[in-house]
């Protein structure tokens, strides 16, 4: 089960498991971002390279305009995946 929403503060909230079968729903939201934003991983249990690809494309697009996404509240396993992918060098992770 995966869900993605944008709350009243403009934070993108991810919930559940972001796998290859769910990336289209994530892409729909991330492709609509045109300003810097926070992405909350608090309730995200799982992410694979399919989800990382969406985040990478979003960061690359936003950086061209001097914007960026910041990732917060990752669990330990998800953080390890980001480190192995060396995405901790691409994103501000809190």
């Amino acid at each position: 089960m995966f869900s993605i929403s944008v709350n009243e503060k403009g934070t993108v909230v991810l919930t559940g498991r972001l796998d290859a079968a769910q990336v289209d729903r994530a892409r729909e939201i991330f492709s609509g971002l045109d300003d810097s934003a926070v992405v909350d991983f608090q309730d995200l249990d799982y992410i694979s390279s399919a989800g990382l690809g969406i985040l990478l494309a979003t960061q690359q697009r936003l950086k061209k305009g001097g914007k960026a996404i910041k990732l917060v509240h990752m669990n330990r396993m998800v953080r390890d995946v980001f480190k192995i992918a060396r995405f901790d060098l691409i994103f501000e992770i809190e």
Binding site: R17, D19, A20, A21, Y46, S48, S49, A50, L52, G53, L56, A57, Q60, K63, K64, M77, D80, V81, I84, A85, R86, I90
Partner: protein, 135 residues
């Protein structure tokens, strides 16, 4: 040992995860091993679906625990072998703006697994993943 057959379709992923979670529960795998097996199987299963390699046959998954090691095998009938252990390495030394996600999944799987093996026998590709369990 558990074994199940899956349609070669991205929509099978939910069933693939259900199979892996049943295995994790029955064999009492730790959370990290379960995550790593989910991630690695997802990468290789989606590669099999995407790159078809000249067949529409089903994909078989086998999972077994032996002592402190969990092993999962993906098997498919194909006429075109593809040795995943020799897949192109992800390029980390390119500028951020040029970085592409290709190969990332296999890189992550390799790093998080304890073993990755490939064999092609009698028209069948077999990818074997092993993960040592936390004690």
């Amino acid at each position: 040992m558990m074994r199940q057959q899956f349609d070669r379709d991205i929509r099978s992923l939910d069933a693939v995860f259900s199979f892996l979670h049943r295995f994790a529960e029955e064999e009492q795998l730790d959370a990290r091993a379960s995550y790593v097996l989910d991630l690695a199987v997802e990468e290789f299963f989606t590669n099999i679906v995407k790159y078809g390699r000249g067949t529409s046959s089903d994909v078989f998954l086998e999972a077994v625990r032996s002592g402190g090691t969990a092993t999962v095998r993906l098997e498919e009938q194909t006429s075109v072998p593809f040795d995943v252990t020799r897949a192109t390495q992800t390029q980390f030394d390119v500028p951020f703006a040029e970085r592409k996600p290709g190969g990332l999944g296999i890189h992550i799987a390799r790093e998080m697994l304890d073993g990755l093996a490939y064999e092609y026998v009698d028209g069948k590709s077999r990818i074997t993943l092993t993960k040592h369990l936390e004690t």
